[in-house]
């Protein structure tokens, strides 16, 4: 069982409260705030899971692909589930974990890559508001989520 302090709960809830999902995944002109797209560009091997998503040929194509941004929103809603079930993320994610393992066949290391990108994108949006303490709580949260997602793999 993961122990969360009151401060950690507040910090993490605040990040989500202030997160505009559409904004964080939208393919804006310079794309610096966009999550999903960033992961596909910085770690291009992650594109292997998006064969059915149309044109991912280069950074520009990725940045303008609406299917990809829609998927980014989906992922953020998935993270939402963890925030709503912070005292039992393990079980809240049991079916999601099975889905990623049995159906999607995603290498769990990708969860770590995506979570690193997410921290970086949130940092770019929040600037100095992304304090060391906030980053610490956030990192703890992401570590738990990544672990829970990888749990049903066998």
């Amino acid at each position: 069982m993961v122990e969360w302090t009151d401060q950690e709960r507040t910090l993490i809830a605040n990040i989500f409260a202030n997160l505009d999902y559409e904004d964080i995944v939208k393919p804006d002109v310079s794309c610096h705030h966009s999550l999903c797209l960033r992961c596909l560009i910085v770690y291009p091997w992650t594109q292997r899971y998006f064969g059915g998503f149309g044109n991912l040929y280069n950074a520009d194509a990725i940045m303008n692909n609406p299917m990809i941004s829609a998927h980014g929103v989906k992922i953020l809603h998935g993270l939402d589930r963890a925030v709503k079930n912070m005292d039992d993320i393990k079980n809240a994610y049991a079916t999601l974990s099975e889905l990623h393992s049995e159906k999607l066949h995603v290498d769990p290391d990708n969860f770590r890559l995506l979570s690193d990108c997410l921290s970086i994108v949130i940092a770019s949006k929040m600037g100095y508001d992304f304090t060391p303490d906030l980053q610490a709580a956030w990192q703890k949260f992401l570590t738990v989520v990544v672990f829970a997602l990888g749990r049903q793999y066998h």
């Binding site: 310079s30 610096h32 797209l37 960033r38 560009i41 970086i120 060391p132 980053q135 610490a136």
Partner: protein, 164 residues
């Protein structure tokens, strides 16, 4: 085609470690040089913030600094050391064409004197990326992120060169 990537080539140098790395293209080296030039006016801030975050977010890294009086974010020893580290990073930028050769002495320092577990290079690199993204949101585009991430990974590899 994908297959051509796997056709075996004779190694051009004896260091097998190089064969396993994702090396920087000429374009990426330019991206790295240009970006770090932009960052240079705030490099102290970057160093201090990155180190402060590393110590807070990954508390196991504090084990290397038990001799410091104050490990809180932005404290004098953290500030001073952040400057030292960024000095090293800039040195590496200037030697981007031969990181392993250029950072030999630094590698010896880390291997024989400091003996920092190399996993921590990755941790500090991540914290640097977070801070760069925070302080330069407009400039830290995905393409810059990619190039800098690769550069820091190669820097870490060069630092670990003399470990064993």
């Amino acid at each position: 085609t994908v297959l051509t990537q796997f056709r075996s080539k004779p190694y051009r140098n004896k260091r097998l470690s190089n064969a396993a790395t994702m090396s920087l293209s000429a374009k990426e080296k330019n991206i790295v040089r240009d970006f770090f030039k932009k960052v240079s006016s705030r490099s102290e801030e970057v160093g201090t913030e990155a180190l402060s975050r590393m110590l807070t977010v990954y508390p196991q890294t504090k084990s290397y600094f038990a001799h410091w009086k104050d490990l809180s974010p932005g404290s004098p020893p953290v500030r001073k050391h952040g400057i030292t580290i960024m000095g090293g990073v800039y040195d590496a930028v200037s030697k981007v064409d031969d990181l392993v050769g250029g950072l030999l002495t630094l590698s010896e320092l880390h291997a024989f004197m400091l003996r920092i577990d190399p996993v921590n290079f990755k941790i500090l690199s991540h914290c640097m990326l977070v801070v760069l993204s925070m302080l330069f949101p407009e400039d830290f585009t995905p393409q810059v992120h990619l190039a800098v991430d690769k550069f820091l990974a190669l820097l870490a590899l060069a630092l670990a060169e003399k470990y064993r």
